[in-house]
């Protein structure tokens, strides 16, 4: 009888322990279920990574149906499955953002390329205008140089003419002086022949070969 009481007490303790363990298992299940529920109801992530979400749900269902020993092993795997589902959903969300950003990047690159092309065209036009201005300036300078050269040639010709005229005048003056000297000598000789006293002879007026314009012949004195 005493043994029976002891046996019943042991059974009660075992039952209590079992109840406690079952309660702990339910708490564990509740924790995992809440985690998955939070993830699936997340507005940004809930609809993403459906395959991984399904695997997490399946792992949780397996955990719920599993026996005590198996649950202990499964809890780690269920946690990891939920982690995988969450990471995959976040990655999908970021990949979607990346696609949007890439489209924006393409648009900006296109705008940048168009801007660069417009700048290149504007630079080309500026260079063309500058080149045209330089060509016109060079042409004008060339015309001026030609005009100056022609003017210089005319001045040189005038100078040559003046030099030639001066030379001619000099030659005429020398000839006139020579003629005067000869006339004087002739008069002296004539006077000596006639026995007349020597009188000053009037200088013969030589006929100039050409009449200088600016340098008149000196008088016979």
């Amino acid at each position: 009888m005493m043994f029976s009481r002891r046996f019943i007490a042991i059974l009660a303790v075992v039952a209590l322990l079992g109840f406690g363990t079952a309660q702990a298992r339910d708490d564990e299940y509740q924790r995992l279920s809440d985690r998955l529920e939070r993830l699936t109801s997340d507005p940004a992530l809930g609809q993403r990574a459906p395959a991984q979400m399904d695997r997490a749900r399946a792992a949780l269902a397996q955990f719920k149906e599993a026996g005590r020993g198996e649950r202990k092993q499964l809890v780690y795997l269920v946690d990891r499955r939920i982690d995988v589902a969450q990471a995959s959903a976040e990655a999908e969300s970021l990949e979607s953002q990346r696609a949007d950003l890439q489209r924006e990047n393409d648009r900006l690159q296109l705008a940048s390329a168009r801007r660069d092309a417009a700048q290149a065209r504007a630079e080309l036009e500026r260079q063309r205008l500058q080149s045209q201005i330089r060509a016109e300036e060079a042409e004008r300078l060339q015309r001026e140089a030609e005009a100056a050269r022609a003017e210089g040639e005319q001045a040189a010709q005038a100078a040559d003419a003046a030099r030639a005229e001066a030379d001619q005048a000099k030659r005429m003056a020398a000839a006139q002086a020579k003629a005067t000297a000869l006339a004087k000598k002739e008069a002296e000789l004539e006077a000596a022949v006639n026995g007349k006293p020597k009188a000053p002879a009037a200088p013969a007026k030589p006929k100039p070969k050409a009449k200088p314009k600016s340098n008149p012949a000196p008088s016979g004195n």
Binding site: R80, L94, R114, R115
Partner: protein, 129 residues
Amino acid sequence: MTTRITKIHALVAVLATLSLQACSPTRPPIEDLADASRALGAARAAGAPVYAAAEYRSAGQRFDQAQSAEAHQDYDAATQLARESAADAELATAKARLGKAREAVAKLRHDNAELDRDLGEHAAPEAQP
């Protein structure tokens, strides 16, 4: 009374034997180890050593432990560790994908901001008439 005690002892002995049989090692977890090895390879290929170093390291350690347990014919432990290793490796792969996506998004945000600022500062010249 003695007979009843004997019966109870016999029942307990039978239950204990059955429990031990239920928990006894079954066979080498060849498939689980192969799955874990494949998952580790996939994680490595995905860049997990860089982007999810902790998870990748944990997967490798569990895989080593699983192999060691199998070598000691502790097949239950080997099975459990191989499955945990595969789960860690899958998480490492997912986190590597996440890390790469984060990097790409950050880079594109930066590039777009630069391009936007550049376009704002150096606007295209007015079209010549």
